[in-house]
Amino acid sequence: MAGFVARRLTLAVPVLLGIVFVTFALARLLPGDPCRSTLGEKATDEVCDAFNERYGLNDPIPEQFRIYLRDALNGNLGDSIKFGRPVTELMVERLPVTVELSVYAMLFAVVIGIPLGIISAYYHNSSIDVGTMIGANIGVSMPVFWLGLMLSYFFGVMLKDTPLWLPPSGRLTAGTTIQPFYEVWGLDVNGDALTLPGFIANINTLNAALVGDWAGLRDALRHMILPAMALGTIPLSIIARMTRSSLLEVLGLNYIRTARAKGARELVVVLRHGLRNALLPVVTIIGLQLGTLLSGAVLTETIFGLSGVGRILYDSITGRDYTVVQAFTLIIAVIFVFINLIVDSLYAYLDPRIRLE
């Protein structure tokens, strides 16, 4: 097992290097002048020279890459040109939003998708099965941004003045704040935002739970429902389909017949004997979908007015904020690579045959 992980890790190294190179290249290739897009069209040449000097944009490209690589390995991703703050600080601010959104979306997908898949596999070819699969097909074909808009219209406007109303944008109701848990607990973080506490405090629901602010938790959760539904629908459909086909395959195997023959209860047969083995490919799919979620997050965050990674990435690409583009694409790609690595390892752990390949 350790050998397997080690092998995958070594394979990931060239990929990570490639990612660093690509993010660097992408940021340099962005058309437009970062100086004039930040300081305005009328910035003089002297001002721009000083600006480029300040952000190291006057150095030769290989030199820039060398510095970038060195700094990146030291955990220093540079200062945002637009915000004038360290990118890492922005990351602590924005990453939790996306993580929170993705986790709830995935939760939504798994909690609904797997039972749906089980039911439709068990009642194979029944009307429930057909209905679920039609629904899943439609779910996969749905544009995330459209679904988000329609959900916010349905829950935010049509159900207004009913108990089912949900806020169509934002993370918290305007005017409410949840006190960071480290303040409540009296932890000393020295005002340093680049810390795990800062990161956790920005995950609103987790923070609210830690602080015990139940009204805040409820508010944060209510704001999370619509984006999570919009983002989670495609994974939900995929997971439901995968669970169904995988469980169908397993339920046709001999050992299931044996289990039934020895008189095990149907629920035990399906859930303990069948589902356990059927979940293997589902785990892989869940892992792979996490990457897709990051794509969808750009759109979901745009629609629901959440200032997460997707949003800042889109803003900084259109705003020519090189360092932010570099840093965030880099971090996303790295996260993506490691998620895949974890999924592969998990899969190898669950299915010993893979390790031997």
Binding site: F145, I317, T318
Partner: protein
Amino acid sequence: MQHTDSASPELQLPAADTTIHTRPPKGLWRETLERLIRKPSAVVGLIILGTLVLIAIFAPVIATHDPLAVLLDVPEEGAVKRMDPCIHLLGCPSAGDELVHTSTETNIQAARLNSTNSLMSAADGKTITVWKTDDGSVLFSLQHESPVTSFDWSPNDQTILAASGEELIVWDINRRIISRTLPHEGGVDLVEWNADGTRFLTASGRTVRIYDTLSWTPVGTIELENDRLAAAWNNNGTVVMTASGNRVQLWNAFVGTEVASLDHDAPLTSAVFNGSTNRILTTSGNTLHVWNTASYVEEIVIEHDRDLTHGAWSENLSRGVENVMAISGNTGFVWKSKTGELLMTLDHGDPIQRISSSPLATRLITQSDTHITVWDANNGDSISSIELEAPITNVAWQNNGGGLLVTSGRDLRIIKTSNYQYIMGVDGNVRDQFSRVIYGTRVSLMVGLTTVSFAVIIGIIAGAVAGFLGGWVDNLIMRIMDVVLAFPPLILAIAVVTVLGPGLQNALLAISIVFIPAYARVARAGVLSVKEEDFVTADRALGVHPARILFRRVLPNALAPLIVQATLGIGTAILDAAALSFLGLGAQPPMPEWGSMLGAERNQIFTAPHLVFYPGIAIMIIVLAFNLLGDGLRDALDPRLDR
């Protein structure tokens, strides 16, 4: 003869049977197709796709309008911004149909629409009632002590000013309470706000008073020499126009002193400002006059052989329409106001009591005692004829010209004045949404097919070369693919489009690039699995060129999963292209692309959800079709999964 391909001619070998039996049998494609047709989901996908292709081909026939054209030139005034769709495809109301019909307890004296046209109100007896214009439901009613003779909405719709007995009553509409009561000498015939709600005028008999809404006192009083014919505000509320006897007078609205006097030879029968209040139309005797209110000179005089009454304007400056209208007996006349040329003669049948033009001058109405005729203002054709039981007391146009507020006796109706239907509504740039959605089919099909073809071709070459050659080439190519795969697809596509510059072509290229690794992997896997087959070994032994082996032997056998992947990929590609366009990086306006249509109207989701709904549904349908077909193909090509 298949085997001759592989055998070098010099060797003169007999037929190499080994190459034949492992190659796909001739009937594979037909078998696949048969299996495909047995899958109901695949058939549904095929049917939807076929329909979409037909829609794309015949888009000019199906679409009711040019997808890029602004609908201003259409003689259709419902075409205001973001008009609601007519979703009852079979039962859309047409001209002359009642949209809303409500009744009061006694006869209606006055009726008004509020400035946004969302509310309509009428005074009957001592009550003013306010209804919603959409469904005719009563919103509230205001009770007075004496009969209401006249009332008016303030321009911001926050207050209603009502004249009841010898009092002026100001209602706060938000709280539904009387915010103040002003005494007034004598009964009031008319109250009217100016355009910005800072002043209003009241008219009782020969006296016109101008009130200020800061002090709520009369700031000027105008005594007319003869009976009052008209009293009206100009646009910026600086001048009040009155007409009485032979004379139109303009008054300073701050102090009530006379500014100018426009004299006529015969008694006046009407006097009205035009829309921008820089001209006044008057009728007196058999002449129609147009006065300039800046220089107080007569611009044109139109003579007719009989007496003219009820002059009115019909103008839309953006289209250069500036017409004047007047009535003579049973007939309405429309002239060009600049030249005096007679444009139309509208024969109503009964003695006309009113002629009026819709706000954008695309419809005209003539009204007699119980009868209204709607005319096309461009050619004078009669559009519809409305007959009511009781005498008509009020007629008012809705802002968008789509309906008329008509009161007669105790009934209050909104009557549709046009036959035009926009099935999916009209978008923010006044274009027909239905036509744009129809034309969008072309763009989306094109997007799906080109991106995937490009990605498949590059992917196949890369994957096949990697798989076939192996070694460091394989390693290099696949590591590059791994790097591309390490980015979430949409984020990489956004970055690439930004580098290349926004635009549909660049978006397509970006999406293709993002999708290459998927096909490369599938192609490589296929090649790897086929590479060691006997027929390939045989070719190698025979000394066939590797490229030839790759493209003639290996690839065709590895094609099945690629076809499946490609079909499924088209759906994803369409989704991603729409997402890029939604973000403003793909198709640029005014191209009718579903994603950019959604993006353009997304801020209107709360007011005009239909504009977001239809393009999204369209995207969903086309993606669904490709997905169903792809699933069907997968099952058909790989019978193991078929259950």
